[in-house]
């Protein structure tokens, strides 16, 4: 039992981890052919994952409605949207889903009139929340907060034509902030995250990290 639950998964992780790592660095046609073969399988598995994803989503909302969990009414809207879009997409104006989507079909009207509009509206709400959050949180409480405040004002003015009209230095200063301090901070974060990913991958490959096996080990 221990072999099935622990030893075999650890050996598989070691073998496939080293294999996946190794073929990236082997300059042999066999390695590139294998990569191509694996990538095709990954795409097939990716396609099947969509079915699993749809099943998971439906299951989640069915459970929510059956148990009358808080907010279960929203799940009805999920089913309305899901069935409407999936139904019209599959029906495809009587040409069915195995043919190309008919331009101007009901599905496209729904996509343009509902999905695009609501999607764009949802994202535009971000502008309102950013404005409100900026008003409530940008305070010159300390030296660092004051620096952040000044940088924000310079970038906000430098990124719009009005800033250019005030002074040509504003866009230049905004560009410098983005290219120098911003890049330095982003690089530090990226390098830190990348080193963390490498360390975690090595721990998984060599069996030191076992939380993915479950059991709280």
């Amino acid at each position: 039992m221990r072999a099935i639950k622990l030893t075999i998964p650890l050996v598989l992780a070691l073998l496939f981890g080293l294999f996946g790592f190794g073929i990236q660095y082997v300059p042999h046609p066999w390695a590139s052919d294998t990569k191509e073969f694996i990538s095709l399988w990954m795409r097939v598995i990716g396609g099947i994952a969509w079915i699993l994803g749809a099943y998971g989503l439906v299951h989640l909302h069915v459970v929510r409605i059956r148990r009358s969990q808080p907010g279960w009414g929203y799940s009805l809207f999920f089913f309305a949207g899901f069935l409407l879009m999936a139904g019209t997409g599959l029906y495809n104006d009587a040409r069915w889903f195995w043919n190309a989507q008919v331009q101007g079909a009901v599905y496209h009207h729904l996509y343009d009139a509902l999905f695009v509009s609501t999607g764009a509206t949802m994202f535009s709400l971000l502008g309102f929340f950013i404005a409100s959050a900026a008003v409530r949180t940008f305070r010159a409480r300390s030296f660092e907060a004051t620096l952040l405040l000044i940088a924000a004002v310079v970038v906000m003015l430098g990124r719009v034509p009005l800033g250019q009209m005030i002074s040509n230095y504003l866009p230049a200063a905004a560009e410098w902030i983005m290219l120098v301090p911003n890049t330095a901070a982003k690089r530090a974060i990226m390098l830190g995250v990348s080193l963390g990913v490498i360390a975690t991958s090595l721990r998984i490959i060599f069996g030191l990290e076992r939380s993915y096996l479950g059991g709280g080990d």
Partner: protein, 281 residues
């Protein structure tokens, strides 16, 4: 009677909505001087010989419509004006139809009347799978990866693919991104196959892209509605980007004024309390 604080989110929302509506209804023309990062993309496209192949990865969904549709339209117009061959695709399933709509609208504009689908441009749509894997497949064989375009026309017979067999034959790659797709395009596409690359993106992810720009992994950046406006100015064809610039200017100034007012109130309260700063004013 309900007392409304000046920093009440509802009041801020109302002010923002009123300012945007007023600015869009009564726009004031402002001089727009394109940013260097945008000019770099424009100049590169200008220098490409006619007939060069360009890949536009339309990696966004309707949520990013306000920023990325103007950028995509401006770029596509420029490519078609320069007689480049444009291949479009996406890694975002929700945006596949939006990409098709942009290609269709721009290709049917009077200035693109002589452009033929399958010869001068094609939109391949969405391809499922891990990005690294799909890009690797595209690097091996573009026609095999996309056997049909978005409307199920076979790509094998399309003239555009006669000498663009794989990603290696693409002369310029631009990822129009609302998420993390530029990283994969840089790592598995541009760097690996030595393709010059640029990024058009939402303003939110713009700061992330400056790292790539600074490192030379991308040769230009068109970020946010401002980027779209800059490109439209360079193209001398104002559209949604330029049209939204006054509203954006007004909102930025409004936020700065409100932040300044908040700080004045913060210090005024602190002074009244004898120097102790309030947790929330």
């Amino acid at each position: 009677m309900m007392r409304v604080r000046w920093s009440d989110p509802r009041l801020v929302f109302l002010l923002v909505a009123a300012a945007i509506a007023a600015a869009l209804l009564h726009p004031v023309k402002q001089p727009i001087k394109p940013e260097r990062a945008v000019v770099q993309v424009y100049d590169f496209v200008q220098r490409l010989p006619a007939g060069s192949a360009m890949l536009l990865a339309v990696d966004f969904d309707p949520q990013a419509k306000a920023e990325l549709v103007p950028i995509t339209k401006a770029l596509l117009r420029h490519c078609l004006r320069r007689n480049l061959r444009v291949i479009g695709m996406t890694f975002w399933p929700q945006g596949a139809a939006l990409g098709q709509s942009i290609f269709s609208v721009v290709a049917h504009e009077p200035e693109s009347a002589d452009k033929k689908l399958g010869t001068d441009y094609v939109y391949l749509g969405y391809k499922p799978g891990d990005m690294a894997q799909v890009i690797t497949n595209m690097g091996e064989n573009l026609g095999q990866t996309f056997r049909q375009d978005y409307e199920n026309r076979p790509t094998a017979t399309m003239p555009i693919f006669q000498d663009v067999a794989s990603l290696k034959d693409v002369d310029y790659l631009v990822d129009l991104a609302a998420g993390g797709t530029p990283d994969a395009w840089v790592l598995f596409g541009a760097d690996k196959y030595k393709i010059p690359m640029a990024v058009g993106c939402t303003a939110v992810i713009g700061p992330d892209m400056y790292v790539r720009l600074n490192a030379g992994q991308i040769n230009g950046l068109i970020a946010g509605l401002r980027g779209a406006a800059d490109y439209e100015v360079l193209l001398n064809r104002p559209d949604l980007g330029v049209g939204g610039m006054f509203a954006q200017s007004i909102i930025h100034v409004m936020i700065i004024v409100l932040v300044a007012a908040g700080n004045l109130a913060f210090f005024w309260i602190a002074r009244r309390r004898g120097g102790s700063t309030p947790a929330h004013e």
